[in-house]
Symmetry: C2
């Protein structure tokens, strides 16, 4: 019963963030009356109306622990989501993962073309930093710079892009990583941006770096659980519910948490990580319930 | 004789900036001891040892008018150059301009592969903002935010990326632009980043926005002259000296300043713009000589 209530609270929170992030992107991306319109239409296609918005929800839920305004948290969330969306657009390209389906609809390069997809990804990448640097917001410049540095590091060569390269090298050269290396790869590829989401919520809350240790630990745990769940989903998921291609790892002979540990052990490990993540939040009361429910949702999701 | 002396001063300035920017990228891009090494090696291949470094020189020469430290100006210059380099990598991709040669050597996707080129471009894009947001530098946070917003706007959908899309739509759909639209397209595609270079020099110099009008006008003039010179180079240039493919506009039936005005008129227009740019600097003495020489160089260059 408690679990069900928490689940309802979480699904309401997800629905709210989804609709708020959609509105924000809608406002940020008016279609101009010239031939650059196609660029903005393509950005809108990819950025609006899809995705679970896990990262913005992490920013908002963390920020709310410290009384940050909803507007400020949503803007930071939209910036991270812009990075996430750009990375999916580029990942889906024929020269990368060559995917045709994303969030249950055709990928961007299928609807437009590859050149438009490259450019729309690039423009969303720039938009993320435009959002954070905007001096019309209430954030002080010090906070703005800290947010930008956190997002730049998480998405660049020492974060997401570095992890993607490690992944690509394994695919192409058939390098077999051990569990330690897979963990590091995933911490970069997926974990860095999830961790940045929590970190940016705390930055908005003016929490000093040393006071963010338990939140960072929470983010690290759920980041790893998220990836294990993704690997399980690839093996066991329902393609209709997932809205993207599945069974890709096996067909590519890819090393994942599931191939290295087996599905049973991987599931146990994901659950243990979630329990640990929840324990990291012990100093908070019910105000952290969304973060707790989100940790559980991450391993139970079907898409 | 005076022209020759100015030319020597300029070539020394160019050589200095080239070597300083190379050193800075070298320091910013140490190759790690894991399989993400390929990403950083690819970034180094594209970012080090090529290019005229016009944008960093614009930042440094503008910043020096206001007594800004060389280090601060070079960092901002490296950030803009990282954006410029990432845009060249993505532009050269088969799905975009499909170019094999850049700065006299094979393009990145020829040396590595398309996926590495997409990712290296993305990581250089993130690096630009990491450089500007770095809180270990002497810049105050307000200046950092202003630099980031200026660069984000110049490179995103309302700047470079928007101009590239207008260009792409013309190529694909055979839209014929008039001179007014070509001018606007080029102001976005090439002009925005050149203008940002001058603007960021002034921001580092703590020049208030209203005090930057004549520098902005200088940047707008040389930006347009730069593009007209590029169009002339495409028609009349020496491929050995240019280090990239030429005669592309004509073979693609592309509308350019040269096709719209004729080579003679285009050359006159470029020179008139340079004269006008030099006049914008009338309130400065010899400290602005590099900016004046750079304006002349822009229409006389052979690459």
């Amino acid at each position: 019963m408690l679990a069900e209530t928490q689940g309802n609270v979480l699904s309401d929170a997800i629905r709210n963030v989804q609709s708020e992030i959609d509105s924000l992107f809608d406002a940020l991306l008016p279609v101009p009356d010239d031939t650059s319109a196609r660029l903005i239409e393509a950005m809108r296609y990819a950025a609006i109306g899809g995705g679970k918005r896990v990262r913005p929800l992490l920013v908002c839920s963390t920020a709310s622990l410290f009384g940050v305004s909803r507007d400020a948290a949503l803007r930071a969330g939209a910036a991270i989501e812009a990075i996430h969306v750009y990375s999916l657009i580029h990942d889906d390209l024929p020269c990368m993962d060559n995917d045709d389906l994303r969030h249950g609809k055709p990928t961007l390069h299928k609807v437009y073309d590859e050149a438009t997809a490259v450019l729309a990804g690039d423009a969303l990448h720039a938009l993320a930093f435009e959002i954070l640097a905007d001096d019309a917001t209430s954030e002080d410049p010090f906070t703005r710079s800290e947010l930008i540095l956190t997002l730049g590091k998480a998405s660049g060569m020492h974060g997401m892009a570095g992890g993607q390269m490690m992944d690509m090298v394994a695919d192409e050269e058939g390098v077999e990583y051990d569990l330690h290396t897979i963990t590091r790869l995933q911490q970069l590829k997926t974990g860095a941006l999830l961790a940045a989401s929590v970190e940016m919520g705390a930055i908005l809350g003016k929490v000093a770096p040393q006071g963010r240790a338990h939140l960072r630990a929470y983010a690290r745990d759920i980041g790893l659980a998220f990836q294990i769940a993704d690997d399980l989903l690839d093996v066991e998921g329902d393609i209709e519910k997932a809205g993207k291609a599945l069974r890709k790892d096996e067909s590519q002979g890819k090393q994942t948490f599931v191939t290295l540990m087996g599905a049973e052990k991987a599931r146990e490990q994901a659950r243990a990580l979630v329990d640990q993540a929840v324990l990291r939040l012990a100093s908070y009361g019910s105000e952290a319930d969304i973060l707790r429910a989100l940790a559980r949702f991450i391993v139970e999701r079907e898409s």
